[in-house]
C-alpha cells in the first residue's frame, strides 16, 4: 500500500516539554491487566477504581508524589489500548526515519483529538508524548499473543524510554514466553505483584523506573527516601492515635443522672450500656483515623466489635488472644508496684497456688481483688444540684488496656501491610500467636506504669503521653515490615 511522506512544521516537531522538571511514568497496556492496580499500590491510593470489567479507567489520571506541594515524580494511570492496530496502521502510512517517528505520533494525537474512536489511545499517548517514561503492563499468568505487538510497536514509535512489568493475576505462569517476547521491545522487564507489595518491592520497582533516564535517577532516589520518611510519619501518627485511644478509653467516665431515690435496675443497665458503647465508639473512630493515616479510608472491614459480654476477659481464650493471662497480670501488678499491703500477701498466696491444681476458686478471689472481672463499678455520686448521678469509669479491669492495645496494634499492622490495590473485604481477626509477637515482658512492665496512671483518672501530662506513645511506636516499628 502507498506510504505518504510527510512534512512536519518545525515547531511541532519537538516532543512537548521533553524535559519537564520531574520524572513522569505512564502505566499503559492492554485492558484489564492490572494497570490501575499497579498505580494504586505504587501511589498508596485505595480510591482508584479497579475492576474485572475492562474499560473501567476511561481517563488518564495523575498520581504525583508531592512533598510540600512540590512534585517529585508523577505516575499516570491510563485506559487500555482499544484500537491498537488501527492506530499503528495510521502511523505506518507515514514513511519517516526513526528520529521522526515520535512526531508522527504527535500528529496522530493532534488530528484525532475529537475522534471518539481513539479517545482511549489519545488518553494514554498524551502523557507519554509529554515526556513520561513507559511502564507497559502485561499479565504473565496468561499466554502471550500476537495482538500485543501492535501496542508495543506504537509505544516504540513514541521514542520514549520504556520498561515492561509482568503482573500475575492468576496462579498459572507464562512468564517465560512473555519475557522472550517483551525482550524484543523493552530493555527492562520486571515482575511485580501489586496485591502483595512489600516496601522493598516498592523501592526496587522505583529503582528500576529511575533507570529509564539518567536524569531521573536522582529525583527517584529522593522519592525513595521520602517514602521511608512517609512511613515513619504514618507510624508516628498511628502511635499518637493509639496512645490517645488507650488514655481516653481507660480514663473515660460516664455519668447518668437520676431523680428518684434510688437508681433502678434499668438505669444501672443503661449506664453500663452507654459506657461500653462509648468505649466501642472510641475504638471504631481510632481505627478510622488510622485507616486514613495509611490512606486506606475506603476499606471494607469484617471485624468483631470489642466485646464485653460476660466480660470474662479472663477466660483462657480471650485473655490468651488479646490480653494478659492471669499469671502475667499478677506478675505485672507486682513488679510495677501496683500492689500494696494486702495485695502483696494475696499475690504470694496466688503465686504459690497458681502452681497447684485446685487453683480456680482462690484465684477467682485474687482476680476480684485486682478488679479482673469487673469493668468498672457503678458508683452512686452524692447530690449535685439536687440530682444524683450514676457514674461508671475509669476502667478498673487490669486486662482491658492490653486487650485494647493488642487489638489496635493488630489492626494497625494489618492496615499498614495491606496493598492499596486490594478492594476486597479485609478480615481483621486476631489469632493467639499475635500477643506473643508484640508484647514482651519488659514492655509489659513499662506499659503498666502508664495504664495505672490512666486508671487513676489524673490528668496526664503531654510529656508522659509522649513517652507512652514512644512505647507504642517501638512496637509498631517492630511489627510493620520495613
Amino acid at each position: 500500500m502507498g506510504k505518504k511522506t510527510l512534512y512536519i512544521k518545525p515547531q511541532e516537531s519537538m516532543v512537548k516539554k521533553m524535559n519537564t522538571a520531574h520524572p513522569m511514568f505512564a502505566v499503559v497496556g492492554h485492558p484489564n491487566k492490572g494497570k490501575s492496580s499497579i498505580v494504586s499500590s505504587l501511589a498508596l491510593d485505595d480510591s482508584v477504581q479497579i475492576s474485572d470489567t475492562p474499560g473501567t479507567t476511561t481517563k488518564k489520571r495523575s498520581f504525583p508524589l508531592k512533598v510540600d506541594g512540590k512534585i517529585l515524580y508523577e505516575l499516570f494511570d491510563t485506559p487500555g489500548f482499544q484500537r491498537a492496530r488501527r492506530v499503528l496502521s495510521w502511523l505506518e502510512q507515514h514513511d519517516v526515519p526513526a528520529d521522526k517517528k515520535h512526531e508522527v505520533v504527535q500528529m496522530f494525537i493532534n488530528e484525532h483529538k475529537e475522534d471518539v474512536r481513539f479517545s482511549d489511545e489519545i488518553e494514554l499517548l498524551e502523557p507519554i508524548m509529554n515526556g513520561a517514561g513507559i511502564i507497559y503492563v502485561v499479565d504473565g499468568s496468561k499466554p502471550y499473543g500476537e495482538e500485543y505487538e501492535a501496542e508495543m510497536e506504537i509505544l516504540r514509535w513514541t521514542g520514549q524510554p520504556s520498561m515492561a512489568l509482568i503482573n500475575h493475576i492468576d496462579e498459572t505462569d507464562y512468564s517465560i514466553e512473555w519475557k522472550r517476547a517483551l525482550g524484543h521491545y523493552f530493555k527492562m522487564v520486571r515482575t511485580f505483584n501489586p496485591m502483595e507489595t512489600t516496601r522493598l518491592q516498592h523501592i526496587s520497582i522505583l529503582e528500576s523506573m529511575a533507570q529509564l533516564k539518567e536524569e531521573w535517577i536522582a529525583p527517584v532516589k529522593a522519592s525513595i527516601k521520602l517514602f521511608e520518611k512517609y512511613q515513619e510519619q504514618m507510624i508516628e501518627r498511628s502511635s499518637a492515635a493509639i496512645a490517645r485511644l488507650l488514655y481516653e478509653s481507660v480514663s473515660t467516665v460516664e455519668q447518668l443522672s437520676f431523680s428518684s431515690k434510688e437508681a433502678s435496675k434499668e438505669e444501672k443497665e443503661k449506664i453500663a450500656r452507654n459506657y461500653k458503647d462509648k468505649l466501642r465508639e472510641l475504638e471504631v473512630s481510632t481505627q478510622k483515623k488510622i485507616e486514613q493515616i495509611w490512606n486506606h479510608d475506603h476499606l471494607k472491614k469484617e471485624q468483631k466489635l470489642l466485646a464485653f459480654e460476660g466480660m470474662d476477659l479472663f477466660s483462657e481464650e480471650t485473655a490468651s488472644v488479646f490480653g494478659l493471662t492471669k499469671k502475667e497480670l499478677l506478675i505485672t501488678a507486682a513488679t510495677s508496684g501496683a500492689v500494696t499491703g494486702a495485695g502483696v500477701d494475696l499475690l504470694f498466696a496466688g503465686h504459690t497456688l497458681l502452681l497447684g491444681a485446685g487453683v480456680g476458686a482462690v484465684v477467682g478471689g485474687v482476680g476480684a481483688y485486682f478488679g479482673f472481672n469487673e469493668l468498672s463499678e457503678v458508683k452512686v455520686l452524692g447530690k449535685i444540684l439536687g440530682k444524683r448521678y450514676l457514674e461508671m469509669g475509669p476502667m478498673e479491669n487490669r486486662n482491658f488496656p492490653y486487650i485494647l492495645l493488642g487489638r489496635a496494634i493488630y489492626h494497625t499492622t494489618q492496615i499498614a501491610n495491606r496493598s492499596h490495590a486490594l478492594r476486597g473485604v479485609i478480615d481483621i481477626d486476631m489469632d493467639s500467636t499475635f500477643k506473643e509477637k508484640w508484647l514482651r515482658d519488659d514492655l509489659r512492665k513499662a506499659l503498666e506504669k502508664y495504664h495505672k496512671k490512666f486508671r487513676s483518672g489524673k490528668e496526664m501530662e503531654a510529656e508522659e503521653l509522649a513517652e507512652y506513645e514512644g512505647l507504642i511506636k517501638g512496637v509498631l516499628e517492630r511489627m510493620i515490615e520495613k
Binding site: 492492554h30 485492558p31 482508584v48 477504581q49 481517563k59 492496530r85 496502521s89 499466554p143 500476537e146 501530662e461
Partner: protein, 460 residues
C-alpha cells in the same frame, strides 16, 4: 518568651482551627526559626494572636496576677513596717532587745530562703508541699473574690503545675522583699525620729566576747568596709541587759548615747540578709521561671502536633482529582447457544493462530472448510479480505481471558454485514483444556450485548 505568650499559645491551641497545610506553610516561610521550637512557637503565636477574642486570657491572667501581687506586696510592706515599728518601739522602761530584730532580719530570711531553695529544687515534681506554705500560694485562693466571669475564665486554665510552682516562688520573693523594705524603713524611721536604747538579752549564758564573735561572723560581708557597723566588745558589754539586777541603771545610763550605735549593725544586717540575699534568690527564681516557661511551652497539649505540622513535610501520593465513578451495565442480554453444531461455513479465531485453531476445532469436534486467523498479527486489510471470503454461519473463537477490545467490535460489526450468523465462542487456554471462568465469559456477554444484534450469538 514569657507567661503571656505561654498563655496566648495555650488559648490559641484550645481553639486551633489551622490546617496542616497552613502550619506547614508557616514552617516553610519562617526558615529563620527552623530547629528552634520555642522561637517557632512564638512566631506562630504572633501570627495568630489576632484571632483570639478579647479580653485575652493572658491579659486577664496577668492583670489578675499583677493586681494580686501588688496588693500583697503593699500589704507585706505595711506589715514589715509595722512589725519593724513594733519591734523597735521603746517604752522608756526597757531597752529594745536587738535579738528580736536580728531574728526578723537575719534568721527568718535565712530560714525561708533555705525553704525556697528546696522548693526550687523540687518545683519540678508537681505540686511541691513547700509551695503551699508560701504566701503567694494563697494568692490563688483570692480568686474567689474576683468577679464571677473572670473566675470562670481562669478556672478553666490548666497551667502546667511546674509553672504555677515557679510563679508562686517568684512572687513570694517579691513579697518578702517588700516586707524587708518595710522593716528597713521602720528601722531608719525609728532611729531618725526616736532615741532608742538598744540592748541584748538572753537566758543562755553567753559571754559578751562570744556574742561579739558571733556578731562579727554575721557581719562578715560588711565588717571590712564599715567597721563601725559591727558592735565592739565594749558596746556589747555595756548593752547587755538583765531583767533582774541593778546593772541596768548604772552602766546603761552612763552609756546611753553609745547604745544607739547598734542601729548601724541592724541596718546593715537588714540590707544584706533581708534585701541583698533575697534579691539574689529573686533573680534565681526569675531564671527558674524562665526555664519553667520554656519547658511548659514544649509540653503544652497540642504543641507536639503543631511543631510536627510545621516541621514535617506534607507527603502525598494520591491523585489530586477524583475519578468519575464507572457504572458497568449489568443487564447483559445476549442470544445464547448452548451446544455447537458439527460443522460451520467458516471458523475464525480472534488472535488465535491457524495451527491452534485446528487443534481447538478438533477437540470441539467441529469441522469447517474454511479456517482463518483474524485480528492478532493481521493487518486490517487482511481482516477485510477474510470477511469478504466469509458467508453463512461463522463460529468465531475468542480468547476468554482477553477482554474484548473495540478492535474486536469493529471487526465483528464488519463481519455481520457480510454473514448470516456469528457465534462467538470464548475458550480458555489449551493448558486448561479450553475451560473458561464464568467471570470471563460474563465480560464477553456484556460487551456483545452492547452490540445487540440479532446475528450475534454467544456460546457459553
Amino acid at each position: 518568651m514569657n507567661l503571656k505568650s505561654y498563655l496566648d499559645l495555650y488559648e490559641l491551641l484550645q481553639t486551633d482551627t489551622t490546617t496542616r497545610e497552613e502550619n506547614r506553610a508557616f514552617g516553610l516561610t519562617h526558615v529563620v526559626v527552623k530547629n528552634r521550637p520555642i522561637e517557632q512557637l512564638l512566631a506562630w503565636v504572633n501570627e495568630h494572636r489576632a484571632k483570639l477574642k478579647k479580653p485575652l486570657l493572658s491579659e486577664t491572667f496577668s492583670s489578675y496576677l499583677y493586681g494580686v501581687t501588688l496588693t500583697l506586696t503593699l500589704i507585706a510592706f505595711v506589715l514589715g513596717f509595722l512589725s519593724g515599728v513594733g519591734l523597735l518601739s521603746y517604752s522608756g522602761h526597757e531597752p529594745v532587745n536587738v535579738i528580736y530584730f536580728m531574728v526578723m532580719v537575719v534568721f527568718f530570711p535565712l530560714f525561708t530562703m533555705t525553704l525556697t531553695l528546696i522548693s526550687m529544687i523540687r518545683a519540678n515534681t508537681a505540686q511541691s508541699l513547700l509551695v503551699h506554705i508560701s504566701p503567694a500560694f494563697w494568692m490563688e485562693k483570692i480568686l474567689y473574690f474576683l468577679p464571677h466571669k473572670m473566675q470562670e475564665n481562669l478556672k478553666e486554665v490548666k497551667i502546667n503545675p511546674l509553672l504555677t510552682n515557679w510563679i508562686v516562688i517568684m512572687r513570694s520573693q517579691i513579697i518578702a522583699l517588700a516586707f524587708s523594705f518595710g522593716l528597713l524603713l521602720a528601722l531608719l524611721g525609728m532611729v531618725a525620729t526616736k532615741d532608742i536604747a538598744f540592748a541584748w538579752s538572753t537566758t543562755l549564758s553567753i559571754s559578751p566576747e562570744s556574742f561579739h564573735r558571733f556578731l562579727n561572723t554575721v557581719a562578715f560581708s560588711w565588717r571590712e568596709y564599715y567597721p563601725s557597723a559591727v558592735p565592739s566588745v565594749e558596746l556589747i558589754e555595756q548593752s547587755q541587759y538583765f531583767r533582774l539586777g541593778d546593772k541596768l541603771s548604772e552602766e546603761m545610763i552612763t552609756n546611753a548615747s553609745k547604745l544607739g550605735e547598734w542601729w548601724k549593725f541592724l541596718a546593715f544586717a537588714t540590707i544584706f540578709y533581708a534585701i541583698i540575699l533575697r534579691f539574689g534568690i529573686y533573680l534565681l527564681s526569675v531564671f527558674g521561671l524562665k526555664r519553667a516557661i520554656k519547658k511548659s511551652f514544649l509540653t503544652l497539649n497540642g504543641v507536639k502536633r503543631l511543631l510536627s505540622e510545621m516541621n514535617e513535610p506534607i507527603i502525598s501520593t494520591h491523585s489530586s482529582r477524583d475519578e468519575k465513578k464507572f457504572m458497568p451495565n449489568n443487564d447483559s442480554y445476549i442470544q445464547v447457544v448452548s451446544s455447537l453444531d458439527t460443522s460451520y461455513d467458516v471458523v475464525q479465531g480472534w488472535a488465535i493462530p491457524k495451527a491452534q485453531l485446528v487443534v481447538i476445532s478438533d477437540s470441539m469436534q467441529v469441522i469447517s472448510p474454511k479456517l482463518f486467523e483474524v485480528g492478532g498479527g493481521n493487518t486490517l486489510d487482511e481482516d477485510s479480505e477474510i470477511i469478504n471470503k466469509s458467508h453463512g454461519e461463522v463460529l468465531l473463537y475468542v480468547k476468554a481471558w482477553e477482554p474484548p477490545t473495540m478492535d474486536f467490535v469493529d471487526f465483528l460489526e464488519e463481519l455481520i454485514r457480510r454473514v448470516d450468523k456469528v457465534i462467538v465462542y470464548p475458550v480458555g487456554t489449551s493448558q486448561e483444556h479450553y475451560k473458561t471462568q464464568s467471570k470471563e465469559v460474563e465480560v464477553w456477554a456484556r460487551k456483545l450485548s452492547t452490540l445487540n444484534h440479532k446475528k450475534v450469538w454467544l456460546k457459553r
